[in-house]
């Protein structure tokens, strides 16, 4: 516990230092944040699809839940003086942390509710249900109302309860929410990258990790060993959804604008491509591939110039997936980990 705490403190300090050093380069900070969010999404989805052997294609939806809940939280909290007398940065970061927590918990709870019925069944139900879930979230947001500033003022006068009710029903339809306070530094993003990687490694190194791997390998046999397969699948799913929610809340608070389209099926597929390319089951693979694939369109743009990054991303990823499946179906890393390189080879490539 002490070791965990001190590692977290050191990682946090390193991320804060890096944020401060590179704060002057907005381009760098934005790219670093985007890459970090992609890594959190990939590493957490890998916990479900790679390590536990289930198949979710709705991670974007859970990211969206985290983003919207996080923004509602922060927009409520920024009006209050949480720490009287403390500097603005400190209270901003406190607001952000609370927004990340609520966003993550909301997504995690959703994950639990979605996972419980669908993971009790063996087979591909999860894929279908998560696909549907992502769409439901998108459609639900599109059917809320837009915030009108005069209306908001009236509601605010009626107290925080009324404002909360107003905000959750006014998520800005397809145009989304804008002017979100940019509270996220890329150091904060990378701090969460560190947390999700560490949590995954901890789980894998424990008896729980064994149970998850056993489920991936053979669910019936895992059950016969005494593994509560449904319980483990649901918990892994909820933990992964929590991190997707945190990623969404982080994203919202540096992107400043969120729309439902950012968390749609295309987003979910993108995250699946990250982990398939990196090697299902490999955390290092998820990290490396999420970084490379997020930067690749940007690099291509600066090399060849001219085109829109968003437009190039879809065909590029589609092509990449086909090439990987044909040439290296196990992905870049297979199930190997960077930190196991020195050790004796145990798993097949």
């Amino acid at each position: 516990m002490l070791r965990t705490t001190s590692t977290l403190v050191v990682a946090g300090a390193a991320c804060a230092l890096a944020s401060w050093l590179f704060a002057s380069s907005q381009f760098f900070a934005l790219q670093a944040s985007l890459v970090g969010v992609a890594v959190i999404l990939a590493v957490s989805l890998n916990l479900i699809n790679g390590i536990t052997g289930q198949f979710s294609i709705g991670h974007g939806g859970f990211m969206g839940v985290g983003a919207y809940v996080g923004v509602v939280t922060s927009s409520l909290l920024t009006q209050f003086q949480l720490l009287p007398g403390a500097p603005q940065v400190v209270s901003d970061q406190l607001v952000l942390l609370i927004a990340l927590a609520t966003g993550g918990l909301a997504a995690g709870t959703m994950g639990f509710l979605v996972g419980l019925p669908s993971l009790r069944l063996k087979g591909d139900y999860l894929a279908i249900v998560t696909l549907g879930f992502g769409e439901i979230i998108r459609v639900a947001i599109q059917n809320t109302k837009e915030i009108a500033s005069d209306e908001l003022k009236l509601v605010q006068a009626q107290g925080i309860g009324a404002e909360l009710a107003y905000r959750v029903t006014h998520l800005g339809r397809a145009t989304g929410l804008s002017q979100i306070p940019q509270l996220t530094s890329f150091g904060m993003v990378w701090f969460w990258v560190f947390v999700v990687v560490m949590v995954t490694r901890r789980i894998l190194g424990s008896p729980h990790g064994r149970a998850l791997l056993a489920i991936r390998e053979d669910e019936v046999a895992a059950e016969a060993m005494g593994v509560d397969t449904t319980g483990y699948k649901v918990r892994a799913f909820a933990v992964a959804s929590f991190f997707a929610g945190v990623a969404g809340a982080l994203f919202a608070h540096f992107q400043a604008i969120i729309t439902p389209a950012q968390f749609d099926f295309v987003k979910s597929t993108e995250i699946v491509v990250f982990i398939v390319a990196g090697g299902l089951g490999s955390t290092s693979g998820a990290v490396v591939s999420a970084m490379a694939l997020t930067l690749l369109p940007e690099v291509m743009r600066s090399l060849f110039g001219g085109f829109n990054v968003e437009q190039i991303r879809k065909p590029l990823f589609g092509l990449l997936l086909v090439v990987i499946m044909l040439t290296r179906p196990q992905g870049l890393f297979g199930t190997h980990e960077l930190w196991d390189l020195g050790k004796r080879k145990k798993r097949p490539a």
């Binding site: 064994r210 390998e217 895992a222 059950e223 005494g226 798993r347």
Partner: protein, 247 residues
């Protein structure tokens, strides 16, 4: 009532199955199966393909819920309880088709067999016991289980089941697809395991081997038990010889 051959030695009951029915949609696989395993017994269940042997084991081990009937383990009703909760109650199931974890090593497979146990010393001791039964597993302990031969995988499946220190071991066709010599080895070990106090409920196509080992045996036909008796008596029965021993 099924025909009974020979007399059964009275032992304290360990497993009691009574009137169990199992359906797969419209198909009724079991039509009221009743059987029992006494403490220290080896009980065999023989029958043709599709008779319902695997379904019986699944109903016992909680892999599927019977639509009627009860299952009792050591006097406790366990009908329809999920499989993972029965391991802690002393039941181990080596499912049909072995069901080893192919991308985990032999050692990791064995450790997963002891998943619910926390007594490190006892686990280490049992690991040695398994390596004693099947020395080839020790040589292969760092190898991926999926790369083992069929016979070695069966040895692993049985050892892994034993790693939970069960009172009752359920085995589904341990001889399936194995060379006679390997089958001999496995049955020799099963006899030894039984002598060490583990009761066994054994499903086998190879009726000769199964009846040779069993204290008591049941013959299953299209979802119902049609005959029971001592292993020796069934081996001597003309009906059984004709139907299951190919004579």
């Amino acid at each position: 009532m099924p025909e009974t051959l020979g007399t059964r030695e009275v032992k304290p009951p360990l497993l009691g199955v009574s009137g169990v029915e199992v359906r797969y949609g419209a198909i009724q696989a079991l039509r009221g199966v009743s059987l029992s395993v006494g403490q220290g017994d080896v009980v065999a269940l023989i029958g043709a393909n599709g008779a319902g042997k695997t379904s019986t084991l699944r109903a016992v081990s909680g892999m599927l819920k019977p639509t009627a009937g009860t299952v009792q383990l050591a006097g406790q009703d366990i009908t329809g309880q999920p499989a993972h909760t029965l391991v802690g109650k002393g039941m181990a199931h080596a499912p049909e088709g072995r069901g080893i974890f192919p991308n985990l090593t032999v050692l990791e497979n064995l450790e997963l067999g002891a998943y619910l146990r926390s007594d490190k010393a006892g686990i280490a001791q049992d690991l040695e016991r398994m390596y004693g039964f099947f020395p080839v597993l020790r040589e292969r302990q760092a190898q991926l289980a999926g790369t083992l031969s069929g016979g070695e995988q069966q040895m692993l499946a049985i050892s892994r089941a034993l790693m939970s220190r069960p009172k009752l071991l359920l085995l589904d066709e341990p001889s399936l697809g194995l060379a006679p010599q390997v089958t001999q080895t496995i049955f020799r070990i099963l006899r030894e395991v039984n002598a060490q106090g583990v009761s066994i409920l054994l499903v086998e196509q190879n009726a000769h081997l199964a009846l040779g080992l069993a204290h008591w045996a049941y013959v299953l036909e299209t979802g119902a038990i049609v005959m029971e008796g001592t292993g020796q008596a069934l081996l001597a029965s003309d009906d059984v010889r004709k139907a299951y021993l190919g004579e």
